[in-house]
Symmetry: D2
Subunit: 271 residues, 4 copies
């Protein structure tokens, strides 16, 4: 047996798909170009001499729709990107050469789930609820080992259960639960490679306030250089009780873009 | 040390990115909508009360541009998709519910590289050259273990070195090297999960003939239900002498689409 | 003075723009790809040697968004387009060669405004109200001359005043006033070149019913071969009291498409 | 007979469509997003209870593809747009509020054709040939009346006959005939409302030089505030010998965009 085979045997396990399927009409922020798909060619449109026929696609989308990752280029504060880079200069040419999503290293590493509702003994956090630093501490205590530098840290609020509700998932009127600034600072101090959650913005949104200010984006992307993953599907993973897993998360190399769709996998080795 | 940590330690190794970066103007087939990227919002366009600002993207693309995977829905023969499914019926509604790319299982498994030029003792195959069944046999003999059912089989022709040349990579005039029908049948008999190569079509293209007929697509997609990956970057992996690796290849769940961009990784465990 | 000058002198008059500006976020049916605009290049992105710089655009849109015209290809009934053309056969190849919007003759002709609220002595029709055949008769009586074959007939319901309200303009919950089948039959009997109105669908929509059935589209497009113009801006023209004008309405020659954006002008010669 | 009818009677005449049909694959500059069209819904995809079915479209395009008009926002020089407006400031927000194509007044006025090859006694200008001020003087002399302020001035080089050749129309290798700076200055001094021509750029392009510098754009758009129309179809109009006509040219109100597709009509009153 080869080394690769041995490794794959040990890696064999349950695979959880942490992404949302891309479908026309799925909930997404109106700030971003809407996902659309069409078939320019269908079978039968052009049949080759031998009876062969091909169908193809056109896709239009923003990069902050569906399950996606934010590049450091996504957010600036007072005109400055992470690392003190001047935001205006960085975007000349219509793409971010140095902080675009193509610079994000594909992630194959330890993933941990901070299940905040489980730590609180509830099913899901209510709309507009803040995930506090104390929540992070309590949920981390439920892990088999603490968060390490370089981990992928996924926070479940339970809001993901609303995905199927459509517009309600955006929580424009209701608000959305999510990490507050203290939780974000605590997370950042642990130096994860990335963080993510099950709502459309990795923020606590108050009812009716929308995306007026996004302090957690500032803390993570601008101040600490930590990528954010949004619109994750975490319900199934949490229901199975898993808190630690091999996380595979590979952004597309969209040169100079501020984000990318991703389809993260959580691989849980069999006991 | 947790089981996940132990596993990741053993998985730690060299990671090869087998994808091409998505850039406006990259070589792609004129049959498919061109990749385009723009920043609808740049930093400074709308500054929040606290000094925060976000940039975002619009992406337009076909799904058979850049490094990508073909779903079984992509090709039909005599009006029939793989498994005898009626192609006309399958596409009603503008998406392929049952054979679209969202039905392709994310691949984390054994990958092998069939380095055809190496087996022949040359740097690269010439334009229009056929990869034969004998080539496959010879290149497989160089593996540490034969191809198994469920493997991901990547074929290097050396044509990928032309990527930077732009239009010449398409080989419209010159032709492109690639597998012929006999090689495809032999590959299919080994029941891989997927196959891929370093040219834009997993076919041998004769000079000036373009995509008039695509027999290998028919054999693999329609007759055998094997997904095809195209426009792979294999030069670096081959130059390092690796023939076996953990292949990670995760299509986006674009519901009903005939293909998806992918960014495959080859992970080579350290000796 | 040349003949053209003489003609233009007589044509000189008040010009009314009957279109809605295309803006991201404008109200449109969720059935159609959303209008989006971005600047891939802005000034300064690439400066030429002489100090010149160009900005450009990418536009994504459906053709039934904003002020637009429906081609005969847009609607079929029982599988048949206008003139008994088989709808399935007509769309092979992904475009309507024979009934697409490129086949609509640019219109420069007599336009008349049927101001239904004015005929009823009200400001605007209420949501969900039917424009009846009697309404058409009454509004036609207010014209200086009856509708002639080949005219462009624009029907004002007053609903256009809701354009600025955003989603409410769609009337999904409220319903929308518009012509019923009797009015459509009466209009069709007069053989206009085209008809149009100030709502998003040239139909009466009942509250909550959406676009479940579109009988007036069937009557006009399928049975009579009369193009329909939607989302017109008629308030200003009506407020000025004009009922007859030179109507200029030129669709884009989008080969094989089912509709096109238009910017119709009403030119009212000075008395 | 109403005044409008009388007017239309006098306007009745031959109508020349000066636009190119929008088709996937038509020649266009690689600097701009490519025109693409697809039918997201075809007839039969979703059939309503009464047997009705609708097909619709998605369009992706740049605004400087096909027959189109350049807004003043399109070009800047040394960071300045026409009227001394700062280009960087004008584009904040991702659209040009004050010099975008929505600010171009729809044109219904006198159009004149300067047929340069006819004035020279040749069929068409050769590739790379400059239209000089003397050419403009000679062609203007062939008009029934000189150019007036506010006219639409269309210049025929004969290059439009190459439209059907595809890539060759772009003239990247061959060069393209067009007005030089002296011709542009002379034209500008006559204060036309707009100018246009039958090539893809209203410039003389030398062989192999591409769009390295665009002096005529600077003169017309930046210095004189005169809109430019490109990719016109002038062969038929010229062949019929018409030099003066009613020109109808209505840009779409794409708010903040740097250009718009147009379908100009030349109406030649019957003698």
């Amino acid at each position: 047996m080869t080394e690769v085979r041995r490794l794959l045997d040990s890696l064999d396990g349950d695979v959880f798909d942490l992404s949302r399927p891309y479908v026309i009409g799925m909930p997404q922020s109106p700030n971003h170009p809407r996902y659309w798909h069409s078939l320019p060619r269908r079978h039968g449109d052009m049949v080759r001499a031998d009876g062969g026929s091909a169908a193809n696609d056109i896709i239009v989308m923003g990069t902050h729709v569906g399950t996606h990752i934010d590049a450091l280029a996504h957010v600036s504060h007072d005109g400055v990107l992470h690392g003190g880079r001047d935001a205006a200069a960085a975007q000349v040419g219509g793409r971010f050469e140095e902080s675009g999503v193509h610079t994000v290293t594909p992630f194959v590493g330890r993933g941990v789930l901070l299940d905040i509702p489980a730590a609180r003994g509830v099913d899901a956090l209510p709309a507009g609820e803040e995930v506090t630093a104390a929540d992070v501490v309590a949920a981390e205590a439920a892990l088999s080992a603490p968060i390490d530098e370089g981990d992928g840290v996924l926070i479940r609020t339970g809001w993901g259960a609303n995905w199927e509700l459509g517009e309600a998932y955006l929580g424009m009127d209701s608000g959305v639960p999510g990490p507050g600034p203290e939780a974000a600072e605590l997370l950042a101090s642990k130096r994860p490679a990335l963080v993510g959650s099950d709502s459309i913005a990795f923020e606590r949104l108050l009812p009716g306030s929308g995306h007026a200010v996004l302090p957690v984006h500032r803390i993570l992307l601008v101040e600490h250089g930590i990528n954010i993953v949004e619109t994750l599907a975490l319900e199934e993973l949490a229901a199975a009780g898993h808190r630690e897993f091999v996380l595979v998360l590979v952004p597309l190399p969209l040169v100079g873009a501020t984000g990318s769709p991703v389809r993260p996998l959580a691989i849980v080795p069999r006991a």
